[in-house]
Symmetry: none
């Protein structure tokens, strides 16, 4: 039984990449739903407001622009945020950049090499933002809010409800027909984005695999080796750092030190100054 | 008792392929129902809109196209997505492609060999998408929405409800007769797709089995051997990678290294550059 | 107590064939009821539509054909699907077919032998589909929908309900008299199918038993032996496959391999190419 569980875990390891991507996608979708529940409300437009003749102090000048900006910002801004997180959390990016101004061997990486790595890292970081955009389009309300001039069926609703806010609170019954059509169109766009990205991704991935100098099992061994090396290197570095630190500190503490020496160790030491 | 349970597990193992396929089909059906509940709503068309004379800002130009695209995208796009996932998760695909531009022996696989393997992999990856299409057709609403000009019985409904949205909310009573007929036709198509694919699949599978050079028990032994080899190879590779990594890392750490050497190990190493 | 339980399990084992068949039949009936609840709805026909003069875009041309196809597809298509599953899951089928194009001894099985086995396998695979057809006929709605021109009593109903759909929603009260007559006839057909198949099956089974060269206990011993042999063979094959795989993989991994060798083991190996 325990052996079969072990087998299962190892099997899952083979699909680690896929699993991680699926996890990212699901987490993105979950966050999206939560965000939407908590803060999303398409701005309410009355016929009076549409003429861009708002006189109240501090109110945005043209309301259609507000709707457009509001809807698009819910689609694009989180995608940008997710992209930045993806870039930051990729060690490849920082292996390339860290200290690249002072590298001696190869005297800075060549531009093609630099751009190639950047493309690779960007591609990996695009999974979460594309998922966000796709799910936002599938949900449809963001896009519909962005492109519809009159999101709520105000004419019928205002007869019943006193304020714009009350209409929005009862929005399941009073979104306008063109809003709903745009929402459907958005879902159509969402499916187009999903299937398009997957097909392009499949072909690109296939091509990069084709041009790899290694074959399937050789590449698998290389991946296994890289993982082991990374883990082992971390271990050895920790051990060595511990030993070096111990010996240095003991040496300082084992005899009586003068003020001059205490001063020296009390400065803020940084390499780049 | 434990022995009988073991027997049962082993028995289930014999039907692993069938079980996996059934699992894929059931998961597909489940996802479909969830997706539908969450986001599906056939666009509502009023007689005014059907003439493609929509003047409101941002509304898609011709509404019948919207219905068609909306309905078909719910049938086709997820099928494409499932197909891509099926292709990606098949190791055979990547055994064939990885490094195929640099293979030395056989100097790239021959085209017939390549196409044959691709066909095999595609056939295996078609199970989930075909299930999706079949279940979408059996559900019927996607197809009916795609081909029906007037999905809701607006004439009767608009007398009672103020907006298209309100009609859609009460849609169980007010989908039009032609929508319902198309839904029935879609279910008919669904059964045709299911039985057709199964019959064709049975004959193709039978033919490939017939032309196998191995007989039943010989093929079973070959399958068992291949499974054992794969598991054993994974084990040995992990062990070897661990040992190699340890010796290399120790060698690097055991003496004091210069900046040049630290630089060298901090680059992003890739074979294909 | 434990001994009596063991006796019971062994007793049940004697009736394994009957139990499996009963299980298949019950599962079929259950699936049928679920499917029907979820998606079945006989297309509604109004007198206006029956003249095949439907002018609305995308609607199927002749509605009586729709009724016929719809009703029959719910009876026949699932039966086909169940038949295919029955054929696929029978090892006898694949023992016969696998590699039959390359068999050396007997140089392909003789045609009478082939047809006889196919008949046997088909007969075993017919249990689930026949159950489905019988239960579908007993339910009656599929057959009645297929053969009745006017399934709903539209004349009476349209006075009360505005649309065909509303009639269908209240269909328990407004199915037409001819629909109900056809439903009764369908139930009659269902009983005929059930009793007919059971009688024919009893006589055929009796005849095959009569013409068996073995007697009752001899046949029972043969069944027991076959089961033991199958289990033992599986065990031994697994063990041998494990040992062979281990020795081969160890041999590959014990020395440093060149790219050419890694290439060779990374190809998709298939016998029939």
């Amino acid at each position: 039984m325990a052996k079969q569980l072990g087998e299962l875990v190892k099997k899952a390891g083979d699909y680690a990449g896929t699993a991680a991507n699926t996890g990212i996608a699901l987490a993105t979708a979950g966050i999206e739903q939560l965000t939407t529940l908590a803060v999303y409300r398409c701005p309410c437009v009355t016929s009076k407001e549409l003429g861009c003749n708002i006189t109240q102090i501090g109110s945005p000048k043209c309301v259609h622009f507000l709707n457009l900006g509001y809807g698009l910002s819910f689609i694009i801004a989180p995608a940008i945020a997710l992209f930045v997180f993806g870039m930051i959390s990729n060690p490849k990016m920082w292996k390339l950049l860290t200290g690249c101004n002072h590298k001696q061997r190869r005297k800075k990486p060549t531009w093609t090499y630099f751009l190639w790595t950047l493309t690779e890292v960007s591609a990996a970081a695009m999974i979460a933002p594309v998922t966000w955009v796709a799910i936002a389009l599938l949900d449809g309300r963001f896009y519909a809010c962005a492109v519809t001039a009159f999101p709520y069926d105000v004419e019928h609703a205002l007869a019943t409800y006193p304020t714009c806010e009350a209409v929005a609170a009862a929005k399941t019954f009073y979104t306008s027909d063109s809003f709903n059509d745009n929402r459907s169109f958005s879902q159509f766009l969402g499916w187009v984005v999903i299937s398009g990205c997957l097909i392009v991704g499949l072909f690109l991935f296939g091509y990069t695999q084709c041009s790899s100098p290694l074959t399937y099992y050789h590449a698998k061994y290389y991946r296994l080796y890289k993982g082991s090396e990374e883990a082992e290197f971390d271990d050895e570095m920790s051990k060595k750092a511990q030993i070096d630190a111990e010996s240095n500190v003991r040496k300082f503490m084992e005899e009586r030190r003068e003020k001059k020496e205490w001063d020296r160790i009390s400065t803020v030491y940084e390499f780049h100054r």
